[in-house]
Amino acid sequence: MTNLEKYVKAFTDSFEISEDQVSALEYQSIVQWDSVGHMSLIAAIEDAFGIMMDTDDIIDFSSFEKGKEILKKYNVVIE
């Protein structure tokens, strides 16, 4: 799987949504992505890439796009 595929899968698995829904996602734009959903998403992403994010980055992880930017800090490039 490519990084992008892994990244998308973390969203689709955590929120039980289809792939075509993920790119426009923002925190709290769907009911599943609330504060509880957020922690499951973070856990899924961390597992997928074998990383551990800092608390500040978890807080800043506010959209599908923003997440890509944050993951660069952990040497995870999503293209």
Partner: protein, 361 residues
């Protein structure tokens, strides 16, 4: 408007008395005007006081709302469709609960502030976390009780999390032992409500004569002392007892309320609750609501720069306390430090820990 991005970059205990006074007066004046123009009920109250929102000399002069008002009225300063989360206070059955309406911005600032304050105590590194509660409190995702919100808020500091109690509030000893084995030699974060920790963690370990090694543990607990005071357990006695059953050395109490989530007051190494730059406590005399002297007991008013989606930036609580000092605590943190002495007479029981304890009567 309040520039939260800039504000939240300030170190949490960095301003001395005069700088903090200037900062809070500026920010809380902006918020007072925001609520005045966006919340019709708030405007009525302020007008009834004859208070001029355009001429605020000190944040101490801004009229406070009693926390009880959030039980009686739906108070919000944003359009209802912008509300993403409604928080409710803890309350025993039959009590009315407060409803606090959060939009995206306020909700996110609450989390950011909590992270700022707590990480200044425990560091930015995420830790394995033991929640001394049951996962059942998180079941209803749409209506967060204060208890669930506390657990969720602190979960951002966790990298792996277990709940120490099952849904019958029984301690999961096997789960705990396994978890501790997995993270042997590492710092571990423990979070829970004071009375539940006492009743279901401490008492159980004592009863079973079991000792766990939590010498690397950092415990953060809150939610009210009333029930433990009835059992004549002091904060020092609480720490000592816990140290005895699990070797834990770092136990911090916190004071906070659902009406001002995010701006918590955490106990320092010297045993004092501290106010961060994002909020403050003012002690009011019950006779005339004038400001009490340092060392004088009175009703606690809390102010916070976070509440923007609801007019909860200046509130009178139903707790009593004493300011111990300001800027000169030996832990080095700037700002006021204080302690809680109890609830005002006839106030409802409402800490997370106390409302829970009430069910055991």
């Amino acid at each position: 408007m309040v520039n939260y991005e800039e504000i939240l970059n300030m170190p949490p205990y960095s301003l001395d008395k005069s700088k903090k006074h200037e900062f809070l007066t500026e920010q809380l004046s902006i918020l007072t005007r925001h609520h005045y123009y966006n919340c019709p009920e708030y405007r009525k109250i302020i007008d009834a006081f004859g208070f001029d929102v355009n001429c605020i000399k000190s944040y101490c002069d801004i009229p406070f709302l009693p926390v009880r008002l959030f039980k009686e009225y739906d108070l919000l300063s944003v359009p209802r469709e912008d509300v993403v989360k409604t928080m409710t206070s803890s309350g025993t059955t039959g009590q009315k609960v407060s409803k606090i309406y959060l939009d995206k911005e306020t909700s996110s600032n609450q989390t950011k502030t909590l992270v700022k304050i707590v990480s200044s105590y425990i560091g930015a590194k995420r830790l394995p976390m033991i929640v001394i509660d049951t996962s059942a409190v998180l079941k209803d995702r749409n209506m967060f009780s204060a208890r669930g919100a506390g657990i969720l808020g602190f979960s951002v500091f966790a990298r792996d999390r277990i709940f120490a109690l099952d849904e019958n509030m029984e301690l999961d000893i096997d789960g705990l032992v396994q978890f501790l084995r997995k993270y042997e030699g590492e710092d571990i974060l423990l979070f829970g409500f004071t009375y539940m920790i006492w009743q279901h963690f401490y008492n159980k370990l004592k009863e079973l004569d079991l000792s766990l090694d939590l010498s690397r543990g950092v415990m953060i607990h809150g939610g009210g002392w009333k029930k433990l005071q009835e059992h004549a357990i002091s904060p020092a006695g609480f720490k000592e007892a816990l140290h005895h059953v699990c070797g834990i050395n770092r136990v911090y109490d916190y004071y906070g309320m659902v009406e001002q989530t995010g701006t918590v007051y955490i106990e320092c190494e010297c045993g004092h609750l501290h106010s961060s730059v994002f909020s403050d406590v003012i002690i009011r005399r019950s006779s005339d609501f004038g400001i009490a002297e340092t060392g004088e007991k009175g009703i606690i008013e809390v102010v916070s720069v976070l509440p923007k989606s609801y007019p909860g930036h200046v509130l009178l609580t139903e707790d009593e306390g004493i300011i111990i000092g300001e800027d000169d605590c030996s832990c080095g943190r700037k700002g006021k430090y204080f302690r809680i002495t109890g609830r005002i007479n006839n106030a409802e029981i409402r800490g997370c820990s106390d409302t829970y304890a009430d069910r055991f009567k």
